[in-house]
């Protein structure tokens, strides 16, 4: 065992840092730091910067543009990325659809769609959840009926993140209603400009527009947009859900978050002293920091094993639960830290306006982030679902 980076790993870290120093625009980093919302242009610009560097899709096979980084290198990249307040790449195409195409898609599909992802031609979103289904994903009702060389799709998806920017959506649809739920599902790629597709915004409790409903009314989808076999979509869906969970613990975000909390608490005054010197507040910060130090090591222990081939199923669930608990706790500390300045609510600011809030700490809309990040333990497989998986697998029940 050795907890220190090797010389090669240190050299890689220097390379990553040099890249961020040179290529990351400070206005963009500041938007990320304040969490004030990125425009579509911001995100596409960053994708292009990464693509030019060859670092847009580290996890892809080398033939399609992957970097062949090992687990520690990926961790270093994620950690530095968060430390520099670099934007996160939009995962739906790069990290979710692409692995499915690599594994189950036809050569034609890979050759056609992958380059379009890299060069930004397509912005993908995800059509998994449906209203009323919650964690019971397989109960989906959106139907696709074969009609000649098309499917005709009717139904509704929800919680579609950044659907307002997307031109393509990958969807789970029901192609057979007469069999067991899981056996009648197919995996379709749908052009959102097709007549009958409608995107309706859902405004979250912090006033942001991140997620959407997507409605399908007699939408015609060419059969060549079926991935793999008809009625085998559930297999691909599960592969997607379990395969790609990079950075699930969010260690870098939490480290950046704690740094923000400490910065605020050093200038915020309480009872005539910096808040950071208040023993109760300092104790809250220290507990989270201690938990985060341990989780960072847990994360490394797990991903270093994954690189050796071990399955990351239950460990991914553990990292998800603990990771969200820690991130949410840091959001809570941040809103506490700013005191009365947690109260102003400028949804415009959250959404990218330039009107500054009266916050004396230049820390962004922290209370809004606190509320927004309640989603971390709900979306993407709620913490209750993860706990169920952990218990079931570990107790062999």
């Amino acid at each position: 065992m050795d907890l220190n980076y090797t010389d090669e790993e240190l050299a890689f870290r220097d390379e990553v840092r040099a890249f961020f120093d040179e290529k990351l625009d400070s206005d963009l980093a500041n938007k990320v730091r304040l969490g004030t919302g990125l425009s579509k242009d911001d995100m596409e610009g960053w994708h292009a910067t990464l693509n030019a560097q060859g670092w847009l899709v580290p996890n892809w096979p080398a033939e399609f543009g992957g970097t062949e980084w090992d687990a520690v290198q990926r961790h270093i990249f994620d950690e530095e990325s968060a430390r520099y307040h670099a934007p996160r790449t939009v995962p739906f195409g790069f990290s979710m659809l692409a692995p499915v195409l690599h594994k189950f898609g036809s050569k034609e599909q890979n050759d056609y769609w992958l380059p379009r992802m890299l060069d930004g031609t397509d912005w993908w979103c995800q059509g998994y959840s449906e209203p009323g289904a919650g964690s019971d994903l397989a109960s989906l009702k959106t139907k696709a009926v074969r009609d000649g060389d098309h499917y005709v799709v009717n139904g509704q998806k929800t919680w579609t993140t950044l659907g307002q920017h997307a031109n393509m959506i990958f969807c789970l649809v029901r192609t057979d209603s007469d069999v067991k739920q899981q056996e009648g599902i197919s995996f379709l790629l749908i052009d959102m400009d097709t007549p009958g597709v409608e995107v309706r915004p859902i405004i979250l409790l912090d006033g942001t527009h991140e997620v959407n409903e997507v409605w399908f009314t007699d939408v015609k989808v060419p059969v060549e947009n079926l991935v793999g076999e008809e009625n085998k979509g559930w297999t691909y869906a599960k592969y997607l859900l379990t395969h790609e969970r990079t950075n699930i613990a969010g260690v870098g975000y939490s480290q950046a978050g704690i740094a923000t909390v400490k910065r605020i608490a050093k200038s915020e005054m309480a009872g005539g002293k910096p808040l950071m010197q208040n023993p109760h507040f300092a104790a809250r910060v220290a507990q989270v920091e201690i938990d985060l130090m341990a989780m960072a090591t847990t994360n490394l222990r797990i991903i270093s094993r994954a690189a050796d081939g071990a399955a990351p199923g239950i460990e991914a669930s553990m990292l998800k639960v603990k990771g969200t608990i820690i991130r949410q706790e840091i959001n809570d500390l941040a809103r506490r830290a700013v005191g009365v300045y947690a109260m102003p609510f400028a949804s415009e600011m959250v959404e990218g306006s330039n009107e500054p809030l009266p916050d004396p700490h230049d820390a962004g809309p922290l209370a809004a982030h606190y509320f927004n990040n309640r989603k971390l333990s709900i979306f993407g497989g709620s913490n209750e679902i993860q706990r169920g998986i952990i218990a079931k697998v570990s107790m062999g029940g």
Partner: protein, 367 residues
């Protein structure tokens, strides 16, 4: 010892609950939240007519209540319904200051619903400390900056604290001034609040005001009004927590997954029961804070600190668990719980947060 509401308070509670559940729907509130004013003058008047403001003042002051339990009854109902109109700041907090300072004329106007007030006391670096005033006044001329002043834009009169003597952290030497709407030298940067309603950053540049009460003796007025307002804040939060738990109970028994109401799954059932236990604790904390508002200072403050600390903890538990147990739907702005959860959380940022009151409690305990 006796835990029954008096007949009068029971009637007030019933009237308010009926009125608000009829008139103050989620839709109504969402419209108010979307409005530029962030409040409804009509609702203000109607509630004033129903006695919401009168109940906050004693008969001597022209009201018909004014005790801790009156305050608790009123604000628990306002909290249940998620009323965003600024009764807490505009009527109770400012009204108490004026009533104690003997300003009968203004108090009468307040009770009638015809006067909007704002307290401009906290400053960008005072956090929750009542004694830190850097704004200064020479004679009647005030200079300084006030932070997150609730209801500032709507206020006909703003009560402004300023230091007329002493050091930044002294209790002595704070003077309260009345500043009329539109007074020269006042600038405001207004914004909506997470919990509804509006506030503003207020800059005072050679502003003229008239002294309220005695010069240099403003702290006592602030402290006493602050105690009553903290009780009100706790009661309002309790009301909101009732709504959050009721919505959650209902949701858990309506929403089905894998063929069963999700509330019958044991993990959620047990967590729900923990919430209900904390609701009893919260109810007791508010009962104590209200019941001891008229007690000696130490008893009053111990119970207020205890209550605000407990409400901070129980409130966080209830709002986070209510959202988590609902799942996605609770993340959407249009769902009732979204506003209620924000109310509960933001209450921790008013009149001192969980840790602030813990420290005060420890200090008093040791004294």
């Amino acid at each position: 010892m006796n835990f029954e509401l008096t007949e009068e308070r029971q009637m007030l509670q019933d009237t308010l609950r009926r009125f608000l559940s009829d008139r103050y729907t989620t839709e109504t509130r969402n419209k108010i939240l979307d409005s530029d004013e962030g409040m409804s003058a009509e609702i203000w008047e109607q509630l004033a007519e129903l006695g919401v403001i009168g109940a906050l003042f004693t008969e001597d002051q022209g009201g018909f209540g004014g005790m801790g339990f009156d305050i608790a009854v009123v604000f628990e109902e306002l909290g249940r319904a998620g009323v965003v109109e600024p009764f807490l700041d505009g009527a109770l907090l400012c009204g108490r200051i004026l009533a104690e300072a003997g300003d009968e004329a203004r108090v009468e106007e307040i009770i009638g619903g015809g006067l909007q007030l704002a307290l401009a006391h906290g400053e960008p670096t005072s956090r929750y400390d009542l004694n830190r005033v850097q704004t200064t006044a020479k004679g009647n001329v005030i200079n300084g900056r006030k932070a997150v002043v609730m209801n500032a834009e709507a206020a006909d009169v703003m009560i402004v604290s300023a230091r007329t003597s002493g050091e930044v952290g002294d209790e002595d030497g704070i003077t309260l001034f009345a500043v009329e709407k539109g007074a020269k030298g006042v600038t405001m940067q207004g914004y909506p609040l997470m919990s509804g309603g509006r506030a503003a950053e207020v800059t005072l540049d050679d502003v003229e005001g008239t002294v309220i009460g005695e010069e240099g003796k403003g702290y006592a007025l602030l402290e006493s009004a602050n105690a009553a307002a903290t009780v009100a804040q706790c009661a309002e939060t309790l009301g909101a927590m009732h709504t959050a738990t009721n919505l959650t109970k209902e949701y858990l028994m309506t929403r089905k997954q894998f063929g069963r109401p999700i509330g019958t799954f044991q993990a959620l059932a047990h967590r729900m029961s923990d919430l209900l236990i904390e609701m009893e604790q919260a109810t007791s904390a508010v009962t104590r804070a209200a019941g001891y508002l008229e007690a000696d200072d130490k008893t009053r403050d111990m119970n207020i600190h205890a209550a605000k600390n407990l409400m901070g903890r129980a409130g966080r538990l209830v709002s986070e668990e209510a959202i988590q147990m609902h799942g996605g739907i609770a993340m959407t702005q249009e769902y009732e719980l979204a506003h209620i959860a924000k109310r509960i959380t933001m209450a921790d940022h008013r009149f001192g947060d969980t840790d602030h009151h813990l420290e005060k409690f420890i200090a008093l305990s040791a004294a």
